[in-house]
Symmetry: C2
Subunit: 342 residues, 2 copies
C-alpha cells in the first residue's frame, strides 16, 4: 500500500482525467466571497473594496519544509492554507473577504485531490470567516505539492492595526492557543512514523489511541483554528499593535517591541493560564511556547483601560525600553525559525 | 562546471547566509506601487482602490513544466512572472498597480538569486507598467523553483472588459506578437541543449550565433513584453471583449466565441500581417500561431466603427453562430495545452 495523495483502489490520477475535468470537480465546491463583483472564469476577478482600500497578504505551504503529505490530507492542506492566511488578515484588524489560490500538484496524484482540497478551503472559510470566499487562482503541475494563497481583507474605514503602535503602559494580550500546535508536531514525529518516516497509517493508529489532549494538539497542528473574528474585535477595542503568532511567541513579541520602540514584559504564569488546556500535556512548557510553533494566535497590545475583547487574555505589559522580558528578566532563549537554516 | 541557479566561483548559497540576509539584498530593489498605503513589513499590506473595487489575478511559474533553470536566469524568471501577470490585468481593461509574490527556491541556490529575481521584477514593472510595484509576498524553500504571483489592477471607474461581450459585426483585433514566443521555445529545444538536456552554455552559444529574428524570438520567450498599456486603451476605445492570448490564438479566440455566444472569423493573411516580423522565420506559420505558444498578446473585439487604439491590428470579424472560423472554414486544428496531459 502507498496512499496519501496517490490514487486508491484503482481510482484515476490527475493525468488520467486532465485539468478541465479536475477543475470541474473542484470549482463548484468553493464558496463565493460576499465582496464578489466578478468571479472566476475571466482573465481576472473583480472584488469590492467599499472603503477604497484593501488589505492583502500571501503565504505558502510547500511539501517538505511546511507539511508532509503522509500527515496532511488534501482537505487539511486546503483548510490550513486558508486558516493561516486569514490569520494574517485578522492581525491587521481587518475582516477577511476573499482569497486567490495558486495550487501545484504532481500529475500522478489522485484525480480527486483538488476537490478534497476545495472542501477543506470551503470549510475553513465558512467556519472561520463567514462571507469570505475563493475568487480565482491557478492550477499547475509540480513534483512538489505547493499551495500559495493570497488573502484580502476589508478594514471598513478603520486604520490598520500595525506592529508599531504599542505604548508603555499598554496591556499585552493573546487570543488563541499557545503551544498546542507545537505539541501536535512533536506527537507526529514521535508516534506517526514508520521506520523513521512520516506514515499515514501510523497517524491513524496514533489518533485511535490518543487522549483528548493529544487529539486537540494534533488538530491544532493539522486543522488550526485561529481566532479570526477577534482581529476586528481587537481593532474596535482600540488595540494599539497586533500580529499573528506564527514563529513563536518570543520572536513575534520581539517584533512588536522593535517596531514600537518599547519593551514587552511577559509573565510566564499568565502565559500558562492563557494556554487553554495545552499546559495539561506533560511536554508543554512556557519555554516551548516562546521558542516556536505555528500557534496562529493573535498577540496584541491594548490601552490600560480597554476591556479585553473576545478571547483575549492578558499575559503582560508594555514598558519603556526595548526587547522582550519574561518574568522581569531579558529573554535570551531561542527565537523562531529560518527555513534556510537547518 | 554546473551553474544556472547554483553558486559560481565560491559564492555563498542561500543556506549559507539565511533568509533575513537574502531578503535584505532583494527587498530594497523592489519598486513601490503608486497605490501603496502600507507597504511590506507588517502581517499584510494595504493598497488603495480608489473606485471601490480591485481587479485580481494569479499565475505561477514552476520549474519543469513552465521553465528550465538552464534557460531562465533568476532575472528573466522575475521579469516573466511579472509580465505574464500584468497581461491578465491588462486583458480586463485595467491598469496594473501592484503585485504580491510567493517565491520558493532550493537552499543550495546561490545567495544572490533573490536579488537577481528582484531586478527582473523591478525592470518589468518600470518598463511595462510604470507605477506598478511589489507590495509583499512570501519566501519559502522548495526543491522545485516556484513563483506564484498575484497582480492587482485599477479600473478607474470603468466596467471590466470581459470575454463575453463580443457582438456580430465587431472587429477582431490583436495587439502584441504572434508566434514569436513559440518560435523562441522551438529554438531553445533545437539549439540550446547538450546531450538532449537544456544547457545554459549552449544557450550562450546560440545567442552569439543567432540572427536578429532569432534573438527576437528568444526574447519573446524569455523576456516577454505584453502590450500592457493597450489594455486600458482598448477599454477606452469601447472594446466589447478581450483576453490575454496565452494558450494559442485558436483556443483563446474560441473562449471569446463561447463566452459571447458568437463565432469569430479570422483571416490567415491578416494574422500574418499582424505577426510583426515573426513571419520572416522560415518555421513561422499561421497554424503554429493558432495551435499554441505563450504570446501574451491582447485579443479583443471592437465595435465596427471604433478606431483601433495603440498597437491593435484587425485579424477578423465577429459573426453570428458559434466557434472559430479561419478563412471561412470551421477550425479543426489543435487547441492549446493542458499541463496534466503529456
Amino acid at each position: 500500500v502507498e496512499f496519501s495523495w496517490s490514487p486508491r483502489d484503482g481510482e484515476p490520477a490527475l493525468v488520467d482525467i486532465g485539468e478541465d475535468a479536475a477543475l470541474e470537480l473542484a470549482l463548484p465546491i468553493l464558496p463565493a466571497s460576499r465582496a464578489r463583483l466578478l468571479g472566476p472564469g475571466d482573465d481576472a476577478a473583480v472584488i469590492a473594496a467599499p472603503d477604497g482600500r484593501f488589505v492583502v497578504t500571501g503565504d505558502t505551504m510547500i511539501e517538505g519544509p511546511d507539511f508532509r503529505q503522509e500527515w496532511t490530507t488534501p482537505e487539511s492542506f486546503g483548510w490550513k492554507l486558508v486558516a493561516t492566511n486569514l490569520a494574517d488578515i485578522a492581525a491587521m484588524g481587518a475582516e477577511p473577504v476573499a482569497l486567490v489560490m495558486s495550487i501545484a500538484v504532481p500529475g500522478d496524484a489522485r484525480a480527486s485531490v483538488l476537490a478534497e482540497m476545495a472542501r477543506g478551503m470551503r470549510d475553513a472559510c465558512l467556519q472561520l470567516a463567514p462571507g469570505c470566499g475563493i475568487e480565482g487562482g491557478d492550477l499547475a503541475r509540480s513534483s512538489v505539492i505547493t499551495g500559495a494563497a493570497t488573502a484580502f481583507g476589508d478594514l471598513d474605514g478603520r486604520a490598520p492595526v500595525l506592529r508599531s503602535g504599542a505604548r508603555p503602559g499598554d496591556v499585552v494580550a493573546v487570543s488563541g492557543g499557545l503551544g498546542l500546535a507545537s505539541r501536535g508536531l512533536a506527537l507526529l514525529f514521535e508516534r506517526a512514523t514508520e521506520d523513521g518516516a512520516p506514515d499515514e497509517f501510523a497517524l491513524a493508529r496514533l489518533r485511535a489511541a490518543a487522549s483528548e489532549d493529544e487529539l486537540a494538539a494534533l488538530d491544532a497542528q493539522l486543522w488550526p483554528r485561529p481566532p479570526i473574528a477577534d482581529g476586528v474585535l481587537a481593532a474596535l477595542a482600540g488595540a494599539t499593535a497586533m500580529l499573528d503568532v506564527s514563529d513563536g511567541l518570543a520572536l513575534d513579541a520581539s517584533r512588536i517591541a522593535r517596531a514600537s520602540g518599547v519593551a514587552l514584559a511577559l509573565e510566564s504564569a499568565r502565559i500558562e493560564e492563557a494556554a487553554g488546556g495545552a499546559e495539561r500535556c506533560a511536554e508543554w512548557s512556557v519555554e516551548r511556547v516562546l521558542a516556536g510553533g505555528e500557534d496562529h494566535a493573535l498577540l496584541a497590545a491594548f490601552p490600560p483601560d480597554a476591556a479585553l475583547p473576545g478571547g483575549f487574555r492578558a499575559i503582560g505589559r508594555v514598558e519603556a525600553g526595548s526587547g522582550l522580558l519574561v518574568d522581569g528578566r531579558p529573554y535570551a532563549g531561542p527565537l523562531g525559525w529560518d527555513p534556510f537554516r537547518p
